[in-house]
């Protein structure tokens, strides 16, 4: 006599709620305190940068002969003190924020566009074209770009537009790789063919299938590239190869501050702190986004 199987009368399984990718990603992100803290700090710095002329007591290039290299003095409106030229450090730090953040975002966008286009073309064309294009990426990847950016500034001058382009042109490699991978994977997926068969136009395929798959990595990329760009720009400015007078950026301020640190340490400490805090916040946010969108990628 054999055992007659009974229905399993164990604990009934819980029904799973359907959650969209974005909802669960958002939930994970919100729970990540470092990322949320970073976001908060970034918003504050961003608002301060935007409102710079309204909240500073002095203009950023106003020279005051009586207040050369003075420590913070809230009564006179020199919240962060003055630099060795008698200019209000608070205003200059906020203007520096404007420049750094602007360069960061714009250059990242340039990077993004170059990377997405390059990657999509390579992925779509496939074959020999793709091989060559990716080989170029590999070669470029092994070179330290800082040098080429410096070269560009030496040879072609120091205008800020060039800096955007130069920096953007060196950071696109990762995005190109990601987009190429996505494009290749999607090229072969059956639902694309099915969609084609159903008469769906290419634009709607791109809109409904390709874009959502790429949006996540794009967001992570931008959030993690902005600090790299800010870093590169600060680096150039620090060396004297970045933005020119009367514009200022954190790199310039830090360079000046380092020079004057024995007599006026605040002129180093304030911009350095702002730069460090911004970079930290961006990195926390970027890491948080990456973990939220792809939790298994630890």
């Amino acid at each position: 006599m054999s055992v007659t199987p009974l229905d399993a009368s164990g604990v009934a399984p819980q029904p799973l709620e359907g959650t969209s990718l974005w909802k669960s990603a958002r939930r994970r992100l919100v729970r990540n305190r470092a990322a949320m803290g970073g976001l908060f700090v970034l918003l504050i710095i961003g608002i301060m940068a935007i409102l710079a002329p309204h909240i500073s007591a002095h203009a950023m290039d106003d020279i005051s002969w009586e207040n050369i290299g003075t420590p913070p003095n809230w009564a006179d409106g020199y919240y962060f003190g003055t630099d060795s030229n008698g200019r209000d450090l608070f205003a200059r730090t906020l203007y520096g924020a404007r420049v750094s953040l602007m360069v960061g975002i714009l250059a990242s966008i340039v990077s993004l566009l170059i990377g997405v286009t390059y990657g999509a073309v390579a992925g779509y064309m496939g074959g020999a074209v793709d091989n060559v294009m990716m080989r170029i990426v590999d070669i470029l990847y092994s070179l330290p770009f800082m040098f080429f950016v410096i070269l560009l500034t030496v040879f072609f001058g120091r205008n800020i537009f060039l800096i955007f382009v130069a920096i953007g042109a060196v950071e696109w490699l990762d995005m190109a790789r990601i987009v190429r991978g996505q494009t290749m994977a999607l090229k072969h997926r059956e639902f694309i063919e099915a969609a084609h068969a159903f008469g769906a136009s290419s634009t709607s395929i791109v809109r409904r299938h390709i874009i959502p798959n790429i949006l996540g990595p794009v967001m992570v990329f931008v959030t993690l590239t902005v600090p790299k760009v800010i870093l590169l720009e600060s680096f150039l400015s620090f060396l004297g190869l970045g933005v020119q007078e009367p514009m200022t950026s954190w790199g310039v301020l830090i360079s000046d501050g380092a020079r004057d640190m024995e007599t006026a340490p605040w002129s180093l400490l304030f911009p350095a702190t702002f730069l460090a805090v911004t970079l930290f916040s961006l990195n926390f946010l970027g890491d948080g986004l990456r973990d939220a969108l792809d939790p298994k990628d630890r």
Partner: protein, 337 residues
């Protein structure tokens, strides 16, 4: 095949058992709650005996071994008692345990490719056991390593000593593992699914090798497997585990020919035999293994058991002796064929 059945003492239990496990419980703290992998396992093994532990994945059989050897991950805790020759080893400090591991009890694992260090030569991995535990000189250790490789029938042992694991075949790697385990002549050899990752033909060779080693050294063997065929070939006694508990145990022949627990019977019936009638479906056991994070209050097998009664579902049936050397955890008195 096995010499142990003729050894005096195993049936009457006159000599002190080598290993006594009493009410072993092992729990893991996970983000989803506490998982009870081992729920009150008790058994003993005598010198020279071979016992097999069988069960499905998730039955807790591997965790019993890990608990005995003290190889649980950080989030695992064991309670109960494990005595090696009357000495409590559960809860020993790592340094104390290290004196016993590799010397008095050794373990071999399922996948020899990942169980051996790919970055060290075979020779190094063998000799270090001897140089560390027995303070042997490197030359002597190397000579002994070569000898033990010969004993496990590895051709050209001298050359193999300088090879890396990836240069050997799967069967040879498992032989190396067995050699490594036997180096210090342990009293107890624990084998966690030693043949599962190997081809069927190699499986037989490895099992023969284990039997041979045991005959030569009198080592006791605990063999964990999900393959009943392996048990039949090598073991004196078998423990059947389900849901972290032993549900039946006894001498191999008796269990196989007269299973007294519904799970054991279902397990045996689900094994296809060469002389089976080819028509009809392959018998399976309906249902799923229990969720170890949320165990039912009664017998873990009750939800899938055709003979279950309310009594079974209310409380866990204790393991009770139904014949000399045989016990089962079931409310039924007798399961008739």
């Amino acid at each position: 095949m096995t010499v142990s059945q003729d050894q005096p003492g195993w049936k009457t239990g006159n000599q002190t058992p080598l290993l006594v496990v009493d009410q072993l419980e092992t729990r893991f703290a996970t983000p989803d709650g506490t998982v009870s992998a081992v729920n009150g396992v008790s058994f003993s093994i005598n010198k020279g005996e071979t016992i097999g532990i069988v069960g499905e994945s998730g039955s807790g059989k591997s965790q019993v071994l890990m608990s005995i050897m003290g190889l649980l991950p950080h989030n695992g805790t064991s309670t109960g008692s494990v005595k090696l020759e009357d000495r409590e080893i559960l809860g020993l400090s790592r340094d104390e345990l290290n004196k016993i591991r590799g010397t008095r009890m050794a373990m071999i694992f399922q996948d020899p490719m990942t169980a051996l260090n790919p970055y060290l030569t075979i020779g190094r991995q063998l000799t270090e056991v001897l140089t560390y535990h027995q303070n042997m000189s490197p030359t002597m250790a190397r000579e002994q390593a070569r000898e033990v490789l010969e004993q496990v029938h590895i051709p050209e042992p001298g050359k193999r000593l300088d090879m890396y694991p990836h240069e050997l075949s799967g069967g040879m790697r498992q032989r190396v593992m067995i050699a490594m385990g036997m180096l210090c002549r342990p009293d107890l050899l624990i084998a966690d699914e030693p043949t599962t990752a190997l081809d069927v033909t190699i499986q037989a060779e490895i099992l023969d090798l284990l039997a041979e080693q045991q005959a030569a050294t009198g080592t006791s063997i605990i063999l964990v497997t999900h393959d009943l065929g392996v048990v039949a070939g090598l073991c004196d006694r078998v423990l059947v585990m389900y849901g972290g508990r032993i549900v039946e145990q006894g001498p191999v022949r008796e269990i196989f020919y007269d299973p007294q627990h519904p799970y054991t019977r279902a397990l045996l019936l689900s094994m296809p035999r060469l002389d089976d009638d080819l028509a009809g479906d392959l018998p399976t056991i309906a249902g799923q293994p229990p969720n170890l994070a949320r165990m039912p209050p009664g017998c873990a097998f009750a939800p899938r058991c055709g003979f279950a009664s309310d009594l079974c579902r209310q409380a866990v049936p204790p393991l009770r002796e139904i014949a000399p050397g045989r016990s089962k955890a079931c409310t039924l008195d007798r399961l008739v064929a």
